[in-house]
Amino acid sequence: MSDAKAVADRLVKAKRLNALLTPPKELRKSLNTQIAVARPTGVLYGMPVAVKDNICTLEFTTTCGSRILEGYRSPYEATAVAKLKAAGALIAGKTNCDEFAMGSSTEHSAYGRVIHPLDKARVPGGSSGGSAALVGAGAVPAALGSETGGSVRQPAAFCGVVGIKPTYGRVSRYGLVAFGSSLDQIGVFGRSVHDAARVLSVISGRDPRDSTCEDRDPLRLPTVPESLQGFVVGLPKEYFPPELDPAVRRACDRAIRMMKELGAAVREVSLPHTPYAVPTYYVIAPAEASSNLARYDGVRYGPRFNGAADLRSLYRSTRGQGFGPEVRRRILLGTYVLSSGYYDAYYRRAQQMRALIAQDFRNVFDRGVDLLFTPTVPSPAFKAGEKLADPIAMYMSDIFTVTANLAGLPAISLPIGRVKGLPIGGQLIGQAFLEDEMIEAAYALERVVPATDEA
């Protein structure tokens, strides 16, 4: 239980991060109203949860970090948000993100970049950088984000917090603004595995409003295990390449040693199609985005950019001026790969490769491996501006995270050490709908790993 003023004060104190898009006055007013009606019997009673700005809320605007939705108020709320409120949680404002969740640094927001909570020259990761930075700065215990290619786990790793991407179909996407529909999932951030897991458990479960959400009960939280006896953890060799940052490798080696000490059987495995994951992703995600973002046309919602004499020039000027450079680039790329003459060369190949990547995981899990352990990102948080001019360098930041999205699998990132003060994340990838096992292992590892010690 917390009081509205204290919740708001903590968030306003983190203002320098530019992580929250909700103005302080509006936040205070809403928190006062919310706390008055929150259900005291709810399992998250009084827990402030910040929400990424591509998830619809009735309390605040939903802009997706874009000019094209500036000032947009949704007439309905996401199922995940409704479930949080029903559990007594407080919606603690909307968080800054890369425009339409396209980016890995939260530098592609129309509302300015988000600052890393530990080093103002660096990025918090992305696209859910605002949510990660607020949890990392201790302004909220938990936050919602969304994942299409690693947008929860990568910023969680950079900001030294826990990030969970659930199985595709575990959490309803009703009210999540669509980017890549075969990849998108709502994910959670927490200060600890437990904070993230209990928020995930509340938002998970069936929803008649989302036909891609599986007809399953909400996730049941496992207990903290005494050991990892009986767990078989696979180390995919493609995720530990020679060029991996040495500090990231040291932190991973330490975590692996600790899992062994806890009784886990650790063995090297291979996911041979891993090198093709990023190119596959950068065909499929823009293709789906070009279709999903066709709806922003200056007619039904958002501002209209004027000077248009007829309807088509209204579409073109609104979309041309309303979308930022990264979104424009991806819409064009997606339109290109889907266009006649190129469809087979790009989109069909990417779809086939996606099937092979998913099969790699099935092969490993079929051979008795319960979980995979990998670094979350190849390096710690990079400097702002460092990768802006080179889209491919930026995309490579997702190299270890996109595979779980392509295969629809659950994955968690947790802090496993630091290098020169910057957090390093370790990732556990689980089997579809076995988040409970994955969380159990994460609980055990979290208890022993020196998350804030230099690796």
């Binding site: 309905y76 041309g320 424009r328 680039r329 064009l332 060369a345 779809q351 996606r354 099937a355 889209p391």
Partner: protein, 97 residues
């Protein structure tokens, strides 16, 4: 694979997106580099037997064919740029090819 300025303009038309002259060269250059990069997918032999993978439920769940009105907190007048008497107002259609 290199994308010309003309191709970018053609794709931009299909995507109903204005692209200004200044950003055109950078855009063409970046799109070319990205397409070159993803072209490594073609190194893998096309395999017609690979079943496309789609995550999510194995079977489509059907629900009763009933109209359930969406419970909206407020109507389009509140969020549309121009809405009058039940209609979204747009400029004239202009000349369609």
């Amino acid at each position: 694979m290199s994308v010309s300025r003309e191709e970018v303009l053609r794709i931009a038309q299909v995507a109903e997106l204005d692209v200004d002259e200044e950003t055109l060269p950078t855009l063409a250059e970046q799109m070319s580099r990205i397409l070159d990069y993803v072209a490594q997918l073609s190194a893998v032999p096309a395999n017609g037997t690979v079943k496309v993978f789609v995550p999510g439920p194995d079977a489509i769940r059907f629900r009763a064919d009933e109209v359930v009105p969406s419970q909206l907190a407020f109507g389009p007048k509140e969020f549309a740029p121009d809405f009058k008497e039940g209609f979204f107002v747009v400029p004239k259609l202009g000349q369609f090819e």
